[in-house]
Symmetry: C2
Subunit: 287 residues, 2 copies
């Protein structure tokens, strides 16, 4: 049984915002064997210069892969699946593989199928990020106060799940929990993907150039995430299409309900919705 300690050898594949922040957090915690793969040599050089990794490569370095006891994939979902299909056989038995992907049901199966016997995959969704990507924006404080969701399947061992939970704790996440792939995807469709749909739609809904002069905090808050990585988010939306469509419809039904109250001057109907939202939102402030 593997325990996480400062000499556990961890390979991070993908040194973007999240992968870079993982590396940074682990090095700051005193981990001594952090390896990194990136597509571009300058990313690897930057990570080495900044002391974010101990060794790195812009190629598939079989030696680093075989030394790693734990591999964290910090790649876009489709890139992750492709990587595993092409190079998964290089991972040695006994390695625990984990990820940071924001959708789960659709990627667990392809990843597990691409891994050799004896390599265990634990799906994890660290709910942290920024509007800006890239290793130069890596920042380990994004994990403070954030949620880290472990998404077990019946095949997972308790040991590997614990190892990944310990990783979340080392990274500084505030709350570590478990959800099934389906529960996770439904939750994320509502909390994360729907909010991005709403923000983008709001930003697209008016082309009045003067808005910026008159905007207040509420519009700013609701559209902060409308600055969006279109490559990543379009992929996430499509990979979680059914769950997201369901949540979009649930939201639109509420907008329609409110529109109905407004157009029929039903003040009590409007106030009922506002009271419900106020009561519910209150609970989100307590933590």
């Amino acid at each position: 049984m593997m325990h996480l300690h400062r000499d556990t050898r961890i390979l991070i594949v993908g040194l973007g915002l999240l992968g870079g922040s993982y590396a940074l957090a682990l090095k700051k915690k005193g981990f001594r064997c952090i390896y990194g793969f990136a597509r571009r040599q300058e990313t690897v050089d930057y990570a080495l210069e900044q002391g974010m990794i101990d060794e790195g490569s812009a190629q598939i370095d079989e030696d680093l892969i075989s030394r790693a006891e734990m591999i964290v994939f910090a790649l876009y979902p489709t890139v992750l699946v492709k990587w595993i299909r092409e190079h998964g056989h290089l991972i040695r038995p006994g390695t625990v593989v984990t990820d940071v992907t924001g959708v789960k049901a659709c990627i667990i199966d392809p990843v597990v199928r691409g891994l050799p016997e004896g390599v265990e995959f634990v799906a994890v969704h660290p709910m942290a990020g920024k509007e800006v990507g890239g290793i130069e924006n890596a920042d380990e404080t994004i994990f403070n106060g954030a949620n880290y969701i472990v998404v077990p399947t019946p095949e997972n061992t308790e040991d590997a799940l614990r190892l990944c939970e310990d990783l979340g704790a080392e990274l500084g996440f505030a709350r570590i929990s478990r959800l099934s792939p389906e529960e996770h995807d439904e939750m994320i469709a509502f909390l994360s993907q729907l909010t991005h749909c709403v923000a983008v739609s709001l930003m697209c809904a008016s082309e009045d150039e003067r808005l910026v002069q008159y905007t207040g905090d509420s519009f700013r808050d609701l559209t902060r995430i409308a600055r969006i990585n279109d490559e990543m988010w379009s992929e996430l939306f499509l990979l979680n299409k059914d769950a997201l469509l369901k949540q979009m419809d649930a939201f639109t039904a509420q907008m329609e309900k409110m529109r109905g109250y407004l157009s029929s001057d039903d003040r009590e109907g409007l106030r009922d919705m506002m009271r419900l939202s106020t009561a519910r939102r209150g609970k989100f402030d307590k933590k």
Copy 2:
């Protein structure tokens, strides 16, 4: 012609969050003749104790009204119209009357009709607030960085408009501008009322009790304003019904467009919307 100076006698009618914050800001700027009316005696007492006003009353004090050179109404729109109808005749000629109301087209006329000859009304919308109301939450810093919109009619004199603009500058607003009542109401329907509709609808769209455990920053940001003063906002929505319905429809059309791209796996369509929203939102960050 009246100029704003530290001995200008200003009566604030309504000592809630906004009225209280006006009082606080003016006293901190050294104004010496700030009067306040509130419905409840304890509010007046609190304002006096805290040095937010120099004199105050929980009744209609005709002496204070007649001494005032400027009256700021910090009341809900329907309460404002009712106050003017009942007590407007007490205001002496030469007084400049202003307000803080979030809707304009529908209140300017009733207010102007209720005022005696020689009393000028300048409609103003200070775009500042908090999720919590009441004088005990008054805070003059809410004006920093905020917009102050003066809404002139053809009847307004340049002197009175300037006086109210000077008041905005004294209060600490970052940007003071002018819009016609119709432009104002359209802008506000989009930037402020639609955002509140969206936040409330989002909060009403799921009754899953576990959401709070898994929520990230994006959901928190989009629903901050879902804690809403239902009395005030239902009134504002209904008073600006046509403009708001139009903006709700524009937003829903964008949500439908996105839903269509998603359900037909049109990734480029999704990315186009995301790129547009990213480009637009970028401009909102520059200030």
